[in-house]
């Protein structure tokens, strides 16, 4: 277990250092997120009354689409330079590779949320500075990263990876999307009469199940 945790830590350090050097993923994700927020801002006629109804949907959709750009690139270094084979020879268990990528992708999504929330708040004149709101986005990001990392590890081995990733991933994200948007809606007061606990439980259960299943099947995905 100690060796596994050590491998995860080293792999995350490598991914973050690589991203710091290249800024490939964050730049594209942030540019896409900001542009999308601008487009939604002038495309939707929002009155002060319906802003709260629509905020969770806009924020989450922007995060999901922007996150897909990052997921698409998360395994390219391993695939293009054959690094998967180097890692396979060194890690105690292949799940360490998956878990490190999951955490890196989660960090990217959390970082994205940290930037999207203030930009949205300024552009739409509605404060989203709410720890609970951020917490739900982080929980949603976990589920998104757990499923996305697994699917990205499959699609990176195909020629049509840019197309295949969203096609395979988005249907799997249906429970996360519903749970995040509804929970955030309750928190912002736009969804009345609903219990947030049910949605949060769904989110938490989804996150745990998808993470566990992905850890179990990742080995087969890589070796096939």
């Amino acid at each position: 277990m100690k060796a596994w945790l050590h491998s995860v830590r080293v792999l995350i350090w490598k991914d973050l250092l690589q991203e710091w050097r290249s800024r490939d993923i964050l730049t594209s994700m942030l540019a896409f997120a900001v542009l999308s927020l601008f487009i939604f801002n002038y495309a939707l006629e929002l009155s002060p009354i319906n802003r709260a109804d629509i905020a969770p949907g806009i924020v989450w959709v922007v995060m999901v689409f922007a996150g897909t750009l990052g997921l698409n690139r998360s395994f390219t270094a391993e695939q293009d330079q054959g690094c998967f084979e180097g890692l396979i020879m060194a890690v105690p268990d292949l799940s360490a590779i998956y878990f490190a990528k999951l955490l890196t992708n989660l960090l990217m999504m959390v970082f994205l949320a940290v930037l999207v929330i203030p930009i949205y708040s300024v552009l739409y004149n509605q404060s989203l500075f709410n720890w609970a709101f951020f917490g739900v986005l982080a929980l949603g990001s976990w589920g998104y990263s757990a499923a996305g990392t697994l699917i990205a590890s499959m699609t990176v081995q195909t020629r049509m990876r840019d197309l295949l990733l969203p096609v395979l991933l988005f249907p799997l994200l249906l429970p996360v999307n519903m749970a995040v948007v509804k929970s955030c809606g309750v928190l912002l007061g736009s969804v009345a009469g609903q219990d947030i606990n049910g949605w949060l439980n769904l989110l938490l259960v989804y996150d745990i199940i998808v993470t566990m299943l992905s850890i179990m099947v990742f080995e087969y995905v890589i070796q096939e």
Partner: protein
């Protein structure tokens, strides 16, 4: 320590690449695997490294109780394949430090710089690997493969991209490792270089080790002659069968 392949077969679809192949390499031996393009050298190296399983037969690393699933065994193999396993946005030193930490070698920065010096990259500028030439990447790949002080060295075409100095450096390194009782198996088409260091040449043809040529001061001409004769005999036998 002995690396053994027993009756291993591997096919890609209808194409049989390895056909009940037997091979044995002892510690301290420096064996060169020769063969024409497509003979299955890379497939054999990948199978011996445990990266892919044979369709039938078995590979034994040392004692029979050791399986490739064991971390200790996997970490005792220094592997070079066609791709360098390097991260392009990291510098050469950072790549080595990453793999060193992943392998838990306990090497410090000074040791890693010494390793870079050993492969002739000691004075290389600290630029990302994407700015390296093909030869520099290959030198770094060799350093990466030797980082974990492996007992088994499996090198597939290690001379690729190296200049004359680089080939000499590689020869020196494999000789040193072999002298330390390491098991070295490599593939190459550079007969002039490998002739200087190999203890034995195994010729892979039609999925089998078709001949084993000991290197008792063999000349380059004689080696090329014997190698060509083995390949020609294989082709003739194939024609007869057809």
């Amino acid at each position: 320590m002995t690396l053994q392949a027993r009756q291993i077969s591997k096919a890609y679809g209808a194409q049989r690449v390895l056909d009940r192949l037997d091979l044995s390499v002892d510690a301290g031996e420096l064996v060169c695997l020769l063969g024409p393009n497509g003979a299955g050298k890379t497939t054999l190296i990948r199978t011996l490294s445990g990266l892919q399983k044979p369709d039938s037969g078995e590979v034994l690393w040392g004692s029979e109780s050791e399986g490739i699933g064991a971390l200790k065994l996997r970490r005792s193999i220094g592997l070079i394949l066609h791709q360098p396993f390097l991260y392009e946005h990291l510098t050469g030193f950072e790549n080595l430090r990453f793999y060193s930490r992943l392998y838990e070698t306990g090497l410090g920065d000074a040791d890693l710089r010494k390793m870079l010096g050993r492969v002739g990259l000691g004075s290389a500028r600290p630029i990302p690997v994407r700015g390296y030439s093909r030869g520099m990447k290959q030198r770094l790949t060799i350093a990466r493969a030797l980082l974990c002080d492996p007992r088994i060295l499996l090198f597939d075409e290690p001379y690729t991209g190296l200049d004359q100095q680089g080939c000499g450096m590689l020869n020196q390194l494999v000789l040193e490792e072999s002298a330390r009782n390491k098991l070295v198996l490599l593939t190459t088409h550079e007969l002039s270089y490998i002739r200087q260091v190999a203890t034995r040449f195994d010729v892979l043809h039609r999925g089998k080790i078709a001949a084993s040529i000991p290197n008792a001061g063999i000349s380059l001409d004689s080696l090329q002659e014997q190698y060509s004769a083995v390949i020609a005999a294989g082709k003739a036998a194939r024609k007869e069968q057809a």
